[in-house]
């Protein structure tokens, strides 16, 4: 959220930032898919988008230009994580190439974080390729820290960093209901739930996380 980004934005085409609306899937989804899969070697099926947008459409924000063209998008989810905390997850982030470097991605991410904070998120996480400096910088400027390195995380064999932002004190020691007293180590091995891990944030590293700044 550099101060200069706002100034830059004023120079360009005025963008409007809008929340996704499920009733307008036909209008928005094709553009979102196109923007996000542009740099992916393997596109996500429409169900991946619907999985997020159907349940957490209110955590998806879009940047539209004056002609209502989609310039950028962020897609998230927010649900209790098996380890305890109420976890927000930034799944996809993309900005059209011609509009990069203007702080649009940062603005989208900030809106998503604000929305997740308003909904009481304990933490927000995401993965991005270790070589994706632009993406790392964006999130680290906002307060995210690297928590893990994930070996060969993407289909292209590249490693990822898991980034985490704590929103509330006590998040580290949060346990799922009914397991409040369990020591951390014992419950971490709980049922491995199909989470954000691998799978869809493929290749090009949520290639999306690639563009940014």
């Amino acid at each position: 959220m550099g101060d200069d980004t706002d100034a830059k934005e004023k120079d360009g085409d005025a963008l409007q930032y809008v929340q996704y609306d499920g009733s307008k899937e036909e209008t928005y989804l094709p553009a979102i898919r196109q923007l996000i899969s542009k740099d992916l070697s393997e596109p996500y099926s429409i169900y991946v988008y619907r999985y997020f947008l159907y349940q957490w459409g209110d955590l998806c924000y879009m940047a539209l230009d004056s002609a209502n063209e989609l310039i950028g998008v962020v897609v998230c989810k927010l649900e209790p994580h098996r380890s305890g905390p109420f976890r927000g997850y930034i799944a996809m982030l993309a900005v059209r190439e011609s509009h990069r470097g203007k702080g649009i991605a940062t603005k989208l991410v900030c809106m998503a974080i604000d929305a997740m904070a308003a909904r009481d998120a304990d933490e927000i996480v995401l993965e991005t390729e270790v070589t994706n400096t632009a993406s790392l910088k964006l999130y680290e400027r906002l307060g995210f820290l690297r928590s893990k390195r994930l070996h060969r995380y993407y289909l292209n064999g590249n490693a990822a960093f898991r980034l985490i932002l704590y929103m509330k004190e006590g998040t580290a020691l949060k346990r799922p209901p009914g397991m409040e007293t369990a020591p951390a180590g014992q419950m971490m091995g709980g049922p491995p739930k199909m989470e954000e891990y691998r799978g869809f944030a493929q290749d090009v590293g949520v290639g999306e996380q690639a563009f940014v700044t």
Binding site: Y44, S45, I46, V48, L150, Y166, G185, P192, M194, E195
Partner: protein, 780 residues
């Protein structure tokens, strides 16, 4: 996306960071187990019940009615629709997802004649391309994007031949004039041995802990890689091929002839080295012969000629229909050979494990050093070493390995471990108290049993890829933390019985607790050091993390100090009792404790010096410091310390204490004015602290070096140990230079204006030791 079944494995294993499962000697957290676990706990759809006769319901009307309640385009999601399912889904008729989709005019299969005669150059070309793909597979890519794209391999495996003679580039009867010629026969033998090698690789990897897809892809797409066929069959085929090529009737250029023979020899030696049946004592004989053949292959690679169409992605369609088409992984031949050489070198190194003295601390040094090799050992090499480590011959050593470890630190010539204790029988009347010496034996046996799993967990963690190692250690630490709580009770019981025997002064205070604590602290240090090595910490976090490292190593130092003091007392006791042999032995033992003590001292002091340096760098704004509008220092501290928050005794200092250590002059953005004068004066506290720590570190590492690898129980990896110790000393010198540079620059400038300098943080490959980020001062 990947085949759902694959992904499932993958996802389950990928980030569970599972703490150690109950069976550390088996594939305790291999993907297979985790995923079966996942299958039972996920909200999965019920499978249709088998057996009951199918009942048919007409739902047309119900369906039509239900549809009317929905708007066009309105979505419905049922609770079983998981992210995993959405990822597994593909869209039919989308060329990028649907591998069965044919572009206009495209054919389903390639039109490649497998029986067309080959030129010798083409044979060499195909063999080398196969070798490249084999190595690509070793680095983690699936067979479907590597070896299984070969039309020759495909035909040998599918349709599945019942016998090896049936495994041909054709099936059934063919006219004599179509029969494959000599060169095709040679290619067949080469391919068969290659496939068997893959079978061996998979067997070895799956026998140990690994993470599917992250480390390695074992999927064979229902192709059976001659699992049942013994190795001699393949060796015979290779030998026969060599004879055919050597036959002077075969008209072929001599250079090409010897190039082909070199490849067959390579394949034979490699297959023998991969043989999982190879007895432990012979292992080391098999790797050295491979390399000379690899060199010959390398020297003649230019003779090869590629055969267009002999590799095709279209085969993927028949391997797994639910996976999108994926490109063949392209690997440069020279890179593939590099990988192969690395594989051979790592495995050869691993075979040295069996020659180590039976000492778990030597094992630990070896495992840690092996995991630290650069480039990082491939999954196969790691499994290879793990298979040696977990060989019954090693694991079922006549002595208890964990107990040997304990002895090295806290019990030496101790009445508690007197073999006579184990010879005592319990009183016939169970109501009578057992003799104290027997109690010692029982307590120790119980403790050793209790230690077994956490102990193996540590070894398993040391066999993982480097990223996993760091994460798995945080779980192993928790297991050792619980062990530490249990050790307290055993220690208390030991004291009771020692008092009964009036030998309390011969027993160290809280011996087992001390031992567990030393091991646990060592692991915490490794987690932090690995964090630096893996670039987990941002530059402005360095001060805090080195501070924490310094604290942790300092505690280990104190614990080791207690061991050393006890041993010294024992020496005196032995001398007084004229037990000179025991005095000598204990002295030797002290050498190890002293080496460890100096090592911990060095780490603690050097981390403290770095902490001091980075604090000053933060005040001088020499390190990038993000604005972080969404975060606070407290929240980031909590996140960083998460793996250690529950440990007992508490290892994580309270935030206030941490902040005081990190910001002695107040906030970096608004420091107390006294910092100006302090930094300008060479003999002010911030500088003298750093200098003193640095000197202590240098002295300690020099002492460690003098004592040598043997003193540190790292004799088996002496070379690497020397290099690292030397690296620590070099790091000390480099930090000294940086400190001097900063001191002199600050002297002549006003704080706030910022001295005209830059702090450069070397990337991991430019550091003397990976986990030690020694900055460089560069004047602008």
């Amino acid at each position: 996306m990947a085949d759902p079944s694959l992904l499932h494995h993958d996802a389950a294993a990928r980030d569970t960071d599972a703490p150690i499962a109950s069976n550390g000697t088996g594939p305790a957290f291999a993907s297979a187990e985790s995923s079966s676990f996942a299958q039972t706990s996920l909200p999965l759809r019920q499978a249709p019940r088998r057996g009951a006769p199918p009942q048919i319901h007409d739902v047309t009307e119900k369906f039509t009615r239900a549809c009317q309640a929905l708007d066009v385009g309105q979505l419905i999601k049922d609770e079983y629709f998981t992210l995993f399912e959405s990822i597994g889904a593909i869209e039919i008729m989308d060329a990028k997802m649907d591998s069965g989709f044919l572009q206009p005019g495209e054919t389903l299969e390639d039109d490649f004649d497998l029986l067309a005669p080959l030129l010798p150059e083409e044979l060499i070309g195909i063999m080398d391309q196969l070798l490249s793909y084999e190595m690509a597979w070793h680095t983690g890519y699936p067979l479907s994007q590597t070896l299984f794209t070969s039309v020759y391999i495909d035909r040998l495996l599918y349709p599945e031949p019942k016998t090896i003679p049936q495994a041909q580039f054709y099936r059934g009867d063919i006219p004599d004039d179509k029969r494959p010629g000599t060169l095709l026969d040679v290619l067949r033998a080469y391919c068969l041995a290659l496939i068997k090698g893959c079978d061996y690789v998979i067997a070895k990897i799956m026998a140990r802990d690994y993470f599917e897809e992250e480390d390695f892809a074992t999927h064979t797409y229902n192709r059976v890689l001659f699992v049942q066929v013994p190795i001699d069959v393949f060796l015979r085929e290779l030998d026969a091929s060599v004879e055919m090529i050597e036959d002077s009737d075969l008209k072929i250029d001599d250079e090409l002839r010897s190039a082909i023979i070199a490849r067959l020899h390579f394949r034979k030696s490699f297959l023998c080295a991969l043989d999982p049946e190879c007895p432990l004592e012979l292992l080391s004989n098999f790797w050295p012969p491979v390399l000379p053949h690899v060199d010959k292959v390398n020297d003649t690679q230019h003779l090869g000629r590629t055969v267009p169409g002999s590799f095709s992605t279209k085969i993927q369609r028949r391997l797994a229909s639910t996976v999108p088409p994926r490109p063949i992984v392209e690997v440069e031949f020279k890179d593939a050979l590099q990988t192969l050489k690395q594989l051979c070198a790592d495995c050869e190194e691993a075979t040295r494990f069996k020659d180590l003295p039976t000492d778990p601390l030597e094992y630990q040094s070896f495992l840690w050093t092996f995991a630290s090799r650069q480039p990082a050992p491939l999954t196969y090499s790691r499994s290879y070493l793990s298979n040696i480590l977990f060989d019954p011959y090693i694991l079922n050593a006549p002595v208890s390995l964990p107990l040997e470890d304990v002895k090295s630190f806290v019990f030496h010539e101790s009445p508690i471990l007197d073999p006579a204790n184990w010879a005592l029988s319990p009183p016939r009347n169970p109501l009578m108290p057992k003799p104290p010496r027997l109690q010692f034996a029982l307590l120790i046996d119980e403790f050793v049993e209790r230690v077994g799993q956490p102990y193996l967990d540590l070894w398993v963690a040391l066999g993982q890829n480097r990223c996993r190692l760091r994460r798995m250690l945080t779980h192993v630490i928790i297991a050792w933390d619980m062990l530490q709580q249990d050790a307290v009770f055993v220690d208390a019981d030991l004291v009771v019985h020692a008092l009964q025997l009036n030998i309390a002064e011969e027993v160290m205070d809280s011996p087992l607790l001390t031992w567990v604590y030393i091991k646990k602290l060592w692991m915490i240090e490794k987690v932090i050091i690995l964090g630096f090595e893996q670039d987990i910490y941002l530059p402005d976090e360095h001060a805090g993390m080195y501070y924490f490292l310094s604290l942790t190593a300092g505690k280990r130092k104190d614990a080791l100090q207690r061991c050393a003091e006890h041993l010294s007392e024992r020496c005196i006791q032995f001398v007084q009792k004229s037990r000179y042999q025991d005095t000598n032995d204990t002295d030797k033992k002290l050498a190890f404790i002293d080496s460890e003590l100096q090592q911990a001292t060095g780490i603690s002091a050097f981390a403290k010096a770095l902490h001091g340096f980075y604090v000053i760098a933060n005040y001088l704004h020499l390190l990038p410091c993000p604005g972080r509008p969404f975060s606070t220092e407290e929240l980031r501290y909590e996140l960083r310390m998460k793996p250690f928050l529950t440990l007992q005794p508490p290892e994580v200092p309270p935030f206030e204490e941490f902040q005081t250590a990190l910001q002695p002059y107040g906030a970096y953005s608004d420091p107390k004015p006294s910092i100006n004068d302090d930094l300008k004066q060479e003999h002010s506290l911030p500088w003298t602290n750093i200098d003193a720590s640095l000197k202590a570190a240098k002295d300690a590492f020099a002492d460690v070096k003098k004592r040598g690898a043997k003193g540190a129980k790292a004799k088996g990896v002496e070379q690497a140990w020397n290099k690292e110790t030397q690296g620590m000393l070099a790091s000390c010198v480099a930090l000294g230079v940086a400190v001097a540079g900063l001191k002199s620059a600050v002297k002549n400038t006003e704080l706030g204006r910022g001295p005209q300098l830059k702090v450069e943080l070397p990337t991991v490959d430019k550091r003397y030791v990976g986990g030690w980020v020694v900055p460089k001062i560069v004047k602008e």
